[in-house]
Amino acid sequence: MAKASTGTLYRGNEGMWSWVAHRVTGVGIFFFLLVHVLDTALVRVSPEAYNAVIGTYKTPVMAFGEIALVAAIAFHAFNGLRVILVDFSKSGPKNQKKLFWGVMIIWLIIMLAFIPRQMMHTFGG
């Protein structure tokens, strides 16, 4: 939430909370990407070094980390497209609430598909 030195009584609805979530996921993805480029850079060190790091991505704990990452990206991506639609399309602003719920439904479908898939990869089956 933006900081107002005087405080504010405004407690928004979908519009404000989606904006907060867009911000939080954007920052999270950015820091993941910094680490991700560094760990990928280990391919220039040695095959052993790279395999050791990518091996940590394959553990059950990290499997949940990857689910969280996909959840963050799927939200940021589709909410970002909603922001773009609201900005550029004539009927966008009028429908922004419907668009928000559309984002949530697409997000849910992606997660319902990805979570079982990830469980299969991680635990076999």
Binding site: R23, L34, V37, V43, I54, K58, G80, F114
Partner: protein, 149 residues
């Protein structure tokens, strides 16, 4: 006697000259264009690396060698690296402007952000283009099958 001259309408009178550079407008547009392209690049990346086949379990040095043997995936990753880093860096710049009020804090946070971003973009670019899929002396069992040829 002199006559007062009245300028023709719409001759470029503006109430106040914009003090903003065109940069902010460009940045705003860039966030949207890069966002649309990134949807394709990132979902494609996640589909191939997390969903298809055995997902993340299949990734190792040989997997990366196989992908970067093709210019298609080199360009894909290069575009994804640059667009995601520039998009994310500009997003963080906005956030710093929102929360850091003291000029000194703003300045130092921005300097740290830009240095980190430049390091990551340069490193990531070098990695894609200097990658050696068959390093001499490496354990052949860890390399892609095409290294034996």
């Amino acid at each position: 006697m002199s006559t007062t001259s009245i300028p023709a309408p719409r001759t470029g009178y503006s109430r106040h000259k914009s003090t903003r550079s065109k940069f902010e407008m460009f940045a705003w547009l860039f966030m949207r264009i890069s966002g649309i392209v990134l949807v394709i690049l990132i979902f494609g990346h996640l589909f191939v690396n997390l969903w298809a086949g055995e997902g993340v379990q299949a990734i190792d040095f040989g997997f990366v060698a196989g992908k970067w043997a093709s210019p298609f995936w080199q360009i894909w990753d290069l575009l994804m690296l640059w667009l995601a880093m520039l998009h994310g860096t500009n997003g963080l710049r906005t956030i710093i402007m929102d929360y850091a009020e003291k000029p000194g804090t703003r300045m130092s946070l921005q300097v740290i952000l830009y240095i980190a971003s430049i390091v990551v973009i340069v490193l990531g670019t070098l990695v894609i283009f200097t990658f050696d899929p068959c390093p001499a002396g490496a354990d052949p069992a860890l390399l892609a099958s095409f290294c034996q040829a």
